[in-house]
């Protein structure tokens, strides 16, 4: 780092951008983990269906398999965009 970089306005460092992006993608990939192998595919297809009606982004559909007292629960979370 030279003296000049102290004078220039601070740009966001690329490492912090990397960290943020990783946190998001890793959280998403973990959400379908440990469940049946079809979960990621199911998530993709659900996303496509939702998008036919509502413009949502990649993270809008969250699919999760939970086990509760011997019972498997498929949990779907769809976040819709805020109404104008």
């Amino acid at each position: 780092m030279s003296i000049f970089s102290y004078l220039l306005p601070k740009k966001e460092k690329s490492a912090s951008v990397a960290k943020e992006r990783l946190q998001i993608i890793v959280a998403r990939e973990r959400s379908t983990r440990g469940g049946p192998d079809y979960l990621p595919q199911l998530q993709e297809e659900l996303l496509m269906v939702v998008r036919k009606y509502v413009p949502v982004d990649q993270d809008a559909v969250n699919v999760q398999m939970d086990r509760e007292s011997g019972c498997e629960i498929l949990e779907l979370n769809i976040t819709l965009p805020e109404q104008e």
Binding site: S2, A15, K19, V26, E29, R33
Partner: protein, 270 residues
């Protein structure tokens, strides 16, 4: 008791083979009888890093198929007592690596009194990597401070938690520790590279060690001598610390900050 350790990463070229060679050598140096197995069928490289490529006669697939017995397949290291190498085959197809076959080899090594068996995994999250990891009691996840490597490590961690024999038998996750390699403190300090804290926070596993980006690794591979034998080098020392931690010792992490620059360097340096 024999401990089977898989060295894995998901992403290719991050330092698995370098690490497998260093870990196995370091364990043997401390008197633990150790075999390091190359699971990278078709792309064997461990023999070169260990410097025994000219002594390879038989390989893992030969031993599995019964063309050679285990003793014939094992190469005894010439520098370090108690260290053995089992090379991968260069040509044969990957389907030769059956789980039954691998299990027989591992049982044979246990009977020989191996304390550690280090499995150098191929890249990827497909069959080859799964085979290398299947019988593991413990994992070392090799990661570079870079987005695709961290993401792949996380995926491998997910696979380890469900696809090992232990997991299948309901014994839960095998312990997995992070080895962050090719670390460049200068680039971390200037904000261009993920820091060890960043990676630890994202992957949320214990840290075994941090290996700096080092010319010594290239020198070692040129010479066919595991970098841990280069006692003078930063990478050699960092690997030695990691082996000590692997065995339960507490050692402070080194080589995490760049060599201090003087005021002049800080004002005008790059």
């Amino acid at each position: 008791m024999t401990k089977i350790v898989v060295v894995t990463s998901g992403k290719g070229g991050v330092g698995k083979t370098t690490t497998s060679a260093a870990l196995a050598t370091g364990l043997a140096q401390r008197g633990h009888k150790t075999t390091v197995i190359d699971f990278d069928v078709g792309l064997r490289n461990l023999d070169l890093i260990m410097g025994c490529e000219r002594r390879v006669v038989y390989d893992l697939v030969n031993v599995i198929n019964g063309d050679a017995n285990l003793k014939q397949g094992l190469i005894k290291d010439k520098r370090v007592e108690d260290l053995y190498i089992l090379p991968a085959s260069q040509t044969r197809d990957k389907d030769a690596l059956t789980l039954e076959g691998i299990e027989k080899v591992l049982d044979g090594l246990k009977e020989m009194g191996m304390e550690y068996i280090i499995c150098d995994s191929p890249a990827g999250i497909e069959k080859g990597a799964l085979t290398a990891a299947y019988f593991a009691d413990e994992a070392v996840v090799v990661t570079n401070p870079e987005v695709s490597s961290v993401r792949d490590s996380d995926r491998i961690l997910g696979i380890l938690s469900s696809k090992t024999r232990k997991a299948e038998q309901g014994e839960g996750d095998i312990p997995a520790r992070l080895l962050l390699t090719r670390y460049s403190p200068e680039r971390v300090e200037s904000g261009q590279m993920l820091s060890v804290e960043d990676v630890k926070e994202i992957l949320a596993i214990d840290l075994l060690g941090v290996i700096p980006e080092s010319q010594a690794v290239l020198n070692a591979s040129n010479a066919g001598s595991p970098v841990i034998l280069d006692r003078e080098s930063d990478a050699g020392q960092a690997y030695d610390d990691s082996v000590a931690r692997f065995l339960g010792e507490t050692r402070e992490h080194r080589f995490l900050t760049s060599a201090k620059k003087g005021l002049f360097g800080r004002l005008f340096g790059g």
